[in-house]
């Protein structure tokens, strides 16, 4: 969708919905929201809805960053400890690599 062809109210409602949907454990939606509306929130000349869009963009950005940190730290911990955790690590895996301890 080309945001330049969308009215300002539509932009706000889109941004708001993306923000809300992100709460369903969908950090990627937040990330998309933050990047997609970044220009609208910070680069466009001021308009009425911009303030609220800015708020949603900032919170989506924070939310997705927290998710990113959590996922990266979990993946690191898991990969480093997979062999040591033995059976537990195997049971929580969906794919077990061949030929590695």
């Amino acid at each position: 969708m080309d945001l330049t062809k969308v009215s300002n109210e539509k932009k706000l409602s889109l941004c708001q919905w993306y923000f809300r949907i992100g709460f369903l454990f969908l950090p990627f939606v937040w990330a998309v929201n933050a990047i997609w509306f970044f220009n609208e929130a910070f680069r466009k000349p001021a308009y009425e809805e911009q303030k609220r869009i800015k708020k949603y963009v900032i919170f989506s950005g924070i939310g997705s960053s927290i998710w990113l940190i959590l996922i990266v730290s979990w993946v690191t911990t898991f990969q480093l400890n997979r062999a040591r955790w033995g059976a537990f690590a195997d049971y929580i895996s969906f794919i077990i690599p061949v030929g590695t301890p």
Binding site: A87, Y91, F94, I96, V98, G99, T100
Partner: protein
């Protein structure tokens, strides 16, 4: 000619041209296959992994052809283009050399090749084979059973190893090495080098519990089988049937006791090839010859009068912590032998338990010492003493070794039942006379076997084995009948000769042709136990042979020679009358059957892996095992290639950016056909 025919003809023509085409991938064209290389693979037990594995995409390294350990040392200290793959004669494959290669850190694989060197010994089993499942204190420090054993077979080696037999392939590697690698070692990194790629990537790691668990996880999105338990079948047969009565109304002979005559069925080696001349072939051949001899001298009446029958048992998987005997004993103790699921008072077969065994005679390695035979036993008992004195009466060559027990299936029985009456007959007293135990060189040459169609040479192995069979057979006869054997029947030397040929030279031998009609490959059959879900040819053929040699004639050979109505105590087969009359067939009633030789550890639910009670050996799975040779470019060349590749990627991005930013100049914009209506 109409259009359709023309089209079809054209299509055919195009297909023809395409099929002449050479459809090899460009990336594979830089390699040349080395054929006939036998890899070393990974096995696992409850606590360890052993054997070798390559990297996931194969391990590569620069060839270094080393005839001696000195040359090997040279490259380990002066190599400038690591990693290396040494190619060396099999003689210098020792524990020290392997340690050195691992410690150097610059070796990514190893190829050993056969040559004309005479080897004094070559055995990579333990000095005390099966150390964890044998009785404590039976392998003494001052008299190790396998003194030359390097235990390399049970070592975890971090790089792949291949064994190469074909001389041409060795020459190919050597020539390439001489042409590209074997000069100016200081500047090796600056020129293209002849290299090898060894592929033998193993799926399983760590230990058996880990790989069994990983193979059976239900949530796994990509289910992979990581390992398979080692196992095959044990073969057993009774000299005379375990039942009596007419064909449709047989009743089990419940009050009979048994003398067990056993041998092992399997061997192993570091590579994907086995030999097995002295262990186990001499034991198997002696057992089979003995079966025929006893069938000839003992009658059904003798057995019935003494209420003492003979059971022949060939245990499989004994090399890997006595898999076969552990399972058979487990079955016997649970009342699952001969068949699982029979009630104590069934009318099909008698249930045989360890208490029913009056004497257990195990035939170990017998082919490396024709001057003496040793009878090993741990404790004296009336049965053992009287049997030994009988053996002694029939031959001067027999000598007893009290309080001694070489690695044998008997260990399994005596571990559970300390007063189990058993003895082991072997060609060694305190340590193996076989210097090639469980290796590829325990072959016909090792035991001095040469095929002799009419078996005329009196001092041959064939005569010795026939003689041993007679001595043991006569002693068993005397145990059962109470009388000294004075008949004229002799053990069949021609059969011994044929049997050795079956196992060591050509499986299409007369004995196998007498028992079945299949065509077999002309290479000796593998005697490695293999994995549980694959039946070994050698086991099937041996079971038919044992069945045939203990069979009763059931009349004319015809299509009615089937087990109908079914009697669970017998099988009926059409087989040749003898090895001299292959074309004369008769119908035979056979008592032979097989039982699973899969460790109880894999059938007991929630087995405690750390208990060490049963064998836990598994074999890793893999997809590819091959060796390729190729010319590796110099490192400068490699760097240049990657630089050119990276630069062209960067330039293409810049180019596309400029094209895009100036697209309005390069491409004329399409004119709007109609004016927008909605403005």
């Amino acid at each position: 000619m109409n259009k359709t025919t023309k089209c079809t003809l054209n299509a055919c023509f195009i297909l023809c041209i395409l099929s002449i085409g050479y459809g090899e991938r460009t990336k594979d064209k830089m390699y040349e296959r080395i054929t006939g290389a036998r890899g070393c693979y990974r096995r696992l037990n409850a606590t360890h992994q052993i054997g070798c594995s390559s990297e996931r995409d194969g391990s590569t390294g620069v060839i270094f052809y080393a005839e001696t350990t000195e040359k090997l040392d040279f490259i380990l200290h002066n190599g400038t283009a690591p990693p290396y793959i040494p190619v060396m004669p099999v003689k210098i494959l020792t524990a020290d050399v392997i340690r050195k290669l691992i410690d150097s850190g610059i070796v990514s694989g190893l190829v050993v090749h056969a040559n004309n060197d005479t080897l004094d010994y070559f055995t990579h089993d333990y000095q005390c084979p099966n150390p964890l499942s044998s009785l404590d204190g039976t392998c003494k420090r001052e008299s190790l059973w396998n003194p030359h054993g390097t235990a390399l077979l049970f070592t975890d080696i971090p790089f792949p190893i291949f064994y190469l037999e074909e001389e041409e392939e060795v020459w190919k590697i050597r020539d390439c090495f001489k042409k590209f690698n074997d000069f100016d070692y200081d500047a090796q990194a600056d020129r293209p080098l002849c290299s090898l790629e060894l592929k033998s990537f193993m799926y399983a790691t760590t230990d058996t519990p880990t790989c069994k668990r990983r193979s059976s996880i239900m949530t796994n999105l990509n289910p992979v089988k990581f390992c398979d338990p080692l196992g095959d079948s044990n073969i057993w047969s009774s000299l005379y049937p375990l039942v009596e009565g007419s064909r449709n109304e047989t009743v089990p002979l419940r009050n009979h006791k048994y003398i067990v005559i056993s041998a092992r069925m399997d061997t192993t080696s570091m590579f994907e090839k086995t030999a097995g001349g002295n262990s186990p072939v001499t034991g198997i051949v002696t057992l089979l010859t003995l079966a025929k001899y006893l069938k000839g001298i003992l009658t059904q009446d003798d057995i019935n009068r003494a209420k003492l029958n003979i059971l022949f048992i060939l245990f499989n998987g004994e090399t890997y912590d006595y898999i076969g005997s552990q399972r058979l004993l487990y079955d016997m103790l649970n009342g699952y032998f001969p068949v699982k699921g029979l009630h104590e008072t069934n009318d099909i077969l008698p249930i045989i338990r360890p208490d029913d065994i009056k004497l257990f005679i195990e035939l170990s390695q017998l082919g490396n010492n024709m001057d003496k035979l040793y009878v090993h036993y741990l404790q004296n008992s009336t049965q053992i003493d009287s049997f030994y004195s009988k053996l002694r009466n029939y031959s001067e060559k027999i000598k007893d070794v009290p309080s001694s027990m070489p690695p044998a299936s008997l260990h399994t029985f005596m571990k559970k039942l300390p007063s189990f009456p058993g003895l082991v007959i072997s060609d060694h007293e305190t340590s193996y006379t076989n210097h090639f135990y469980n290796s590829i060189f325990d072959d016909a040459v090792n035991i001095g076997f040469t095929y002799d169609p009419n078996a005329t040479e009196q001092n041959s192995l064939q005569y010795f084995i026939a003689n041993v069979s007679e001595v043991i057979g006569n002693s068993v006869y005397e145990t059962i009948t109470g009388k000294h054997y004075s008949g004229k029947y002799t053990a069949d030397v021609v059969l011994v000769n044929e049997l050795f040929q079956c196992y060591l030279e050509d499986p299409n031998c007369k004995v196998h042709r007498a028992t079945q009609k299949g065509k077999l490959p002309k290479v000796p059959l593998s005697l490695y136990v293999g994995v549980d879900h694959v039946a070994n040819y050698a086991t099937t053929l041996t079971s038919l042979t044992l069945g045939w040699l203990t069979a009763d004639d059931a009349g004319e050979s015809n299509i009615n020679c089937t087990n109908n109505p079914r009697n669970y105590a017998f099988k009926y087969y059409n087989m040749s009358k003898s090895i001299q009359e292959l074309n004369v067939t008769r119908c035979y009633k056979i008592t032979m059957n097989t039982t699973d030789a899969i460790s109880p550890a894999f059938i007991i639910p929630d087995y405690n892996w750390t208990s060490g009670q049963y064998s836990t050996w598994t074999e890793s799975t893999w997809t590819e095992m091959n060796v390729r040779i190729f010319l590796k470019p110099s490192s400068a060349h490699e760097k240049m290639t990657i630089a050119i590749g990276s630069l062209s990627v960067i330039f293409s991005f810049i180019f596309v950016y400029f094209v895009k930013s100036r697209s309005h100049i390069l491409f004329t914009p399409p004119l709007p056909t109609e004016a927008p209506t909605d403005c």
